[in-house]
């Protein structure tokens, strides 16, 4: 196990509503999420469905990203829920599961995310800026939503991009 291929559309698992993690730990899933995220150049977050696991878990690390404001370092969250959000900002997002395109997506500027750590600790993460955007993007994956489901104008919101490199391994 370890590094997994990142699944791309039209893989059906990407469109499914993922199943709650519940209270059980899942060390293997946590390691796979982190390893795959780390192995993917430029990747700052990964949701379990992207590696074929339809469970509500995500890994995220926006450390060092130029747009990062508040930063919680490497976080893995089980059953994350956005409980508060405010503000609205459009930003251009790329997604490893949607090759060749990027899209302008409006996201809340500030969010509070509740969930659990892999060790079972209750998490309440308040953040903003790029980390808030990343949380919203990854939580969308748990609900089967991709950037293409979030655009409001095809003409101005969807852009071609160079294909991101395949994850190593």
């Amino acid at each position: 196990m370890g590094i997994h291929p990142v699944l791309r559309i039209p893989e059906r698992v990407l469109k499914r509503t993922a199943v709650a993690m519940g209270d059980a730990p899942d060390d293997e899933l946590v390691a796979d999420l982190i390893d795959t995220m780390r192995a993917s150049p430029g990747c700052v977050g990964l949701a379990a469905p992207q590696i074929g696991v339809s469970r509500r878990a995500l890994a995220l690390d926006v450390t060092g990203h130029p747009k990062t404001k508040r930063c919680h370092g490497l976080v893995v969250v089980f059953d994350p829920v956005v409980v508060e959000s405010s503000g609205r900002e459009v930003g251009r997002e790329g997604c490893m599961s949607v090759p060749d395109l990027t899209a302008n997506v409006a996201r809340a500027k500030r969010v509070v995310v509740h969930g659990r750590s892999p060790e079972g600790e209750v998490l309440a993460i308040e953040t903003d800026g790029f980390e808030a955007r990343a949380f919203q993007h990854e939580i969308d994956h748990l609900d089967g939503l991709l950037i293409l489901d979030r655009v409001s104008s095809l003409a101005t919101d969807v852009f071609r991009r160079k294909v991101y490199q395949e994850p190593r391994g």
Partner: protein, 175 residues
């Protein structure tokens, strides 16, 4: 030559519901495969461009589309095109230009881009504002190696022709 042939298809006509369905039905029934397509409404005219692939004879495709054109009251053209490389210059900058409408805006800006070796990868323009004071708004995605140089170049041209221009990098964050 083996394998499917590629064709460029253009459609233009007075806009109404059902044109996309009518054209794509004709293509589907002729066994064509749609590849990339773009469509918009230009000053009330429906317009669409498609690159399609087809194993069948060109004559069958042309006859089928001619029938659709008659039924829909639109003009359709079909031209064989060579298969092109699929790698492309990814756009690096968005160029916005706007100002009082007058002839030559697109030419002067795009000529400057061409001279700088920048490739226009997408372009949309609209005449907005009132009939008395029409404003021309032009948005382009370009693939350019030097964004700063591009901005300086276009700012110079823009002041010559009396329009505003802005250049900003296209930066997508991989999430």
């Amino acid at each position: 030559m083996s394998g499917p042939h590629h064709y460029a298809v253009t459609v233009i006509g007075n806009d109404r519901p059902g044109i996309v369905a009518g054209v794509t039905r004709a293509l589907f029934e002729t066994g064509c495969n749609l590849e990339d397509a773009t469509s918009t409404i230009l000053r009330g005219h429906f317009s669409m461009m498609l690159v399609i692939s087809s194993d069948g004879p060109q004559g069958t495709l042309e006859a089928s589309l001619a029938g659709a054109a008659d039924d829909l009251g639109v003009m359709i053209t079909v031209k064989p095109v060579e298969e092109a490389a699929l790698d492309f210059d990814a756009p690096t900058h968005m160029v916005s230009v706007y100002g009082a409408d007058h002839p030559g805006i697109v030419f002067r800006i795009s000529d400057a881009l061409a001279s700088a070796g920048a490739n226009v990868t997408d372009l949309t323009s609209r005449i907005i504002g009132s009939p008395e004071e029409p404003v021309y708004a032009l948005m382009m995605e370009v693939a350019a190696s030097d964004g700063k140089g591009l901005e300086d170049l276009l700012t110079g041209i823009a002041s010559e022709i009396g329009v505003d221009v802005s250049v900003h990098p296209i930066e997508a964050d991989l999430l």
